[in-house]
């Protein structure tokens, strides 16, 4: 798997739905944004459009195949333009299956056993499938356990692009450790580009000298409903880039390990 996968986004990027709702992404400086190898962190308020942008990049939201013209912005993945004529839902699904890993905000499973979930949603490693229970239904697990199982099922080291939408919520130190370890291992293999959103890690990113501020997006949402005044909101999304995130992953692992040690120390001395 090549590590030369790249996204190229031309702004202003406009997403319209039902002619009543539109969201417009405009770049603060320049009109093209490029995502190459590395980790990209999206920082913004709730409702600023981070998840929407992530989904547009991941081909789960948007107008494709000429449904929106180039005047509404374009997204290219490896020189394939999403809204070019001839690009259809089958091609989108092929790209998602081959290249993208999407970790959703909330853990979700098909209502079958964890092994069946793995086989249907991933199925890339028969040996790994055997490690999942054929009788255990993931819906019966706790929130944190579900997050971990979902990581095991959908995070595939063979895919070059991961979209992680608040993957650390609900996770205790042990599982956060597992998450960073999974990310680090995948990055050593075929994973090339990671997009992630997280509200708790923002300060660390800003302070991390390896993350540089790439650009700022102005996001305008316009909601025109019948019999209601038009609602227009403007927010910002800051994008940070780290082209060599291995150190960052390592530091996160070390930090979580410290937390785990402290927790285990506390556990050993009840009453403290």
């Amino acid at each position: 798997m090549s590590k030369a996968d790249r996204f190229e986004v031309t702004f202003p990027l406009i997403l319209t739905q039902d002619d009543s709702f539109s969201i417009t992404f405009t770049l603060e400086s320049g009109d093209t944004l490029e995502f190459k190898q590395g980790a990209y962190y999206l920082y913004g308020d709730n409702g600023s459009g981070k998840t929407t942008l992530l989904n547009m990049l991941a081909l789960t939201i948007g107008n494709i195949g000429g449904a929106s013209g180039p005047d509404k912005g374009t997204i290219k993945f490896n020189d394939e333009t999403y809204n070019a004529k001839g690009f259809n839902y089958i091609r989108a699904a092929e790209i998602r299956e081959k290249s993208f890993c999407i970790f959703p905000q909330k853990a979700f499973f098909l209502p079958v056993s964890t092994r069946d979930n793995y086989m249907v949603l991933n199925g890339s490693d028969r040996q790994k499938a055997a490690a999942f229970s054929a009788h255990e239904y993931p819906d019966l697990l706790s929130g944190g356990q579900q997050q971990k199982v979902l990581m095991d099922i959908v995070l595939d080291a063979k895919k070059p692009v991961w979209f992680l939408d608040e993957p650390l919520s609900n996770l205790d130190a042990e599982r956060r450790h597992y998450f960073w370890m999974t990310l680090q291992r995948a990055y050593r293999k075929d994973l090339a580009t990671v997009f992630f959103i997280d509200h708790w890690i923002g300060k660390k990113i800003k302070d991390d000298k390896n993350f540089k501020h790439l650009n700022t997006l102005l996001v305008v949402t316009e909601n025109r409903q019948k019999n209601s005044p038009t609602n227009i909101n403007a927010r910002h999304i800051e994008i940070f880039e780290n082209n060599d995130p291995q150190d960052f992953f390592g530091r996160q692992i070390q930090q979580v390990q410290k937390e785990m040690s402290a927790t285990s120390f506390l556990k050993k001395e009840p009453g403290v």
Binding site: Q17, E97, F108, D116
Partner: protein, 484 residues
């Protein structure tokens, strides 16, 4: 089927049958199966009834023969000159050696040996048909006494069949018998014309022996007169008249031998020369029987293909009635060449029309209802699947390209249900027919197959439309996954 597809199919079924949707989905499927099952069963039931009626009417022998009245020898001659060619063109052929006179059928009884049977296969079929319609065959077999005689003589029983008088009282039967005897005397007297000198004594002696001793044999109790030709009272072997004709024209035998050539036996049989019993040369190819100047009489026309199965573009077989022929005999009837049992032709047309109407309405009704159900219910099942599984399907599509497989699965499920219903009912019907020896027609498979394939084909784009939020150019898996 690949392992991945099998796994996906199982997961889809598990999702449809999960606790929260199980009852609703099962109710939908049962409603589909029951409605389509009842509709298909109703169609098959009506098809079977119509098929039995169709076979009955197409195979009804009385509808293959029509008796046309001739008023006199001259009018018969004119009829042959004017209409015979046309009737032959319409597929009808005059049956030789048979006619109806005074409600009595005179028909030649052929010996069981093939050599004496009519050489024309059409006339052979016609005679066999008349034998069958009037239940004559067993009487014919008994007519020729099986006993060792020399090569030149033959013994026949001096009997006739009382065709429709089985239930009559003795006085009526006796009256009919006497009337028949007088008719036979009249006919014999017509034949006797131009016979002179001592031969007339021999002729009268033989005539008297035959007519005085002729015996009534009631129709076999197992046989009922054919309802369309039940007016025929008696069936008389034309052979007796042939004996008299042959005696009349025998100029080579001396008077003593001629008197002994036909003898009445004590057992009620007539012993005669084979040559005397055979069809006289003058009657071989002549249907006019000029010596027997008995008119009006009804001459039989054999029409083997007046009714035939015919394919309709709606993929069923109905009955094709030879309208040209029926119109022509109606025309003959109105011109004075009355049909014996004229009502039969109208009964025939009415029956054919009713059966054809029933077949047509059954098929049109089946096509419309089955296609409606075959499209509406699968559409509901697909909608049900989309509404209840869109969150899961959207989630699945985020990771795997299984769109074609999913569309195929949700197309296949209702199609398999239809196949199960139709295939099951068809197989049950064919087995029931085969083991019940009902002679069912396998043609029923055609409409069932056509509606099945049509519904499956029509449902394909509808199914795709049900899942159009996944197959359009506006992606919103994120919203669908959230249940919006």
């Amino acid at each position: 089927m690949t392992n991945d597809f099998h796994k996906l199919l199982v997961v889809c079924l598990k999702m449809l049958f999960r606790k929260s949707t199980r009852k609703r989905f099962v109710c939908l499927v049962i409603a589909f199966l029951v409605m389509m099952g009842f509709n298909t069963f109703s169609y098959v039931n009506k098809f079977h009834k119509a098929e039995m009626l169709k076979k009955e009417i197409v195979n009804q022998k009385a509808f293959k023969v029509f008796f046309v009245r001739m008023r006199s020898q001259n009018s018969f001659g004119r009829f042959l000159a004017g209409h015979y060619r046309k009737l032959r063109h319409l597929g009808a052929e005059i049956v030789k050696q048979a006619f109806i006179y005074q409600n009595n059928l005179f028909i030649h009884f052929f010996t069981p040996s093939a050599t004496s049977h009519p050489d024309s296969s059409g006339n052979k079929d016609a005679i066999n048909l008349l034998y069958s319609v009037y239940h004559i065959q067993s009487f014919v077999d008994d007519f020729f006494v099986k006993e060792r005689t020399d090569d030149y003589t033959v013994k026949v029983r001096n009997n006739y069949i009382d065709h429709n008088g089985t239930a009559l009282n003795e006085a009526v039967i006796a009256g009919r018998h006497n009337t028949l005897r007088f008719d036979l005397i009249d006919l014999a007297d017509m034949i006797r014309e131009n016979v002179w000198d001592k031969r007339i004594d021999v002729y009268n002696s033989i005539k008297k022996s035959i007519i005085d001793n002729i015996k009534r044999i009631p129709l076999n109790p197992n046989h009922m007169p054919n309802p369309y030709l039940s007016r025929v009272e008696c069936i008389i072997p034309l052979n007796f008249l042939h004996i008299l004709t042959n005696i009349k024209y025998d100029n080579t035998t001396d008077i003593i031998d001629l008197a002994e050539s036909v003898s009445y036996e004590k057992d009620g049989a007539i012993k005669t020369d084979k040559a005397d019993l055979a069809i006289p040369q003058i009657y071989q190819d002549n249907v006019m029987y000029q010596d027997i100047d008995a008119y009006p009489r009804y001459v039989p026309f054999y029409v083997p293909q007046v009714l035939e199965p015919r394919w309709n573009w709606l993929m069923y077989q109905n009955i094709d009635i030879k309208t040209d022929f029926m119109d022509y005999i109606d025309q003959l009837h109105s011109q004075g060449h009355y049909l014996y049992s004229y009502e039969k032709s109208h009964i025939l047309k009415d029956k054919v029309k009713n059966i054809n109407d029933d077949i047509r309405s059954n098929h049109i009704n089946f096509y419309l209802t089955d296609l409606s159900m075959g499209i509406a219910f699968p559409f509901m099942i697909s909608l049900f699947a989309f509404i209840h599984l869109k969150t899961e399907i959207a989630f699945l599509f985020m990771f795997k390209n299984r769109i074609r497989e999913l569309l195929f699965i949700f197309w296949l499920l209702p199609v398999l249900l239809m196949l199960f219903v139709k295939g099951g009912i068809l197989a049950a019907y064919l087995l029931y027919s085969i083991f019940g020896d009902l002679g069912a027609s396998a043609h029923i498979a055609l409409p069932l197959a056509i509606t099945f394939f049509s519904a499956a084909a029509a449902f394909h784009p509808i199914n795709k439309w049900c899942f159009s939020p996944f197959t359009g150019n506006t992606l919103n898996l994120h919203a669908l996954h959230k249940g919006r």
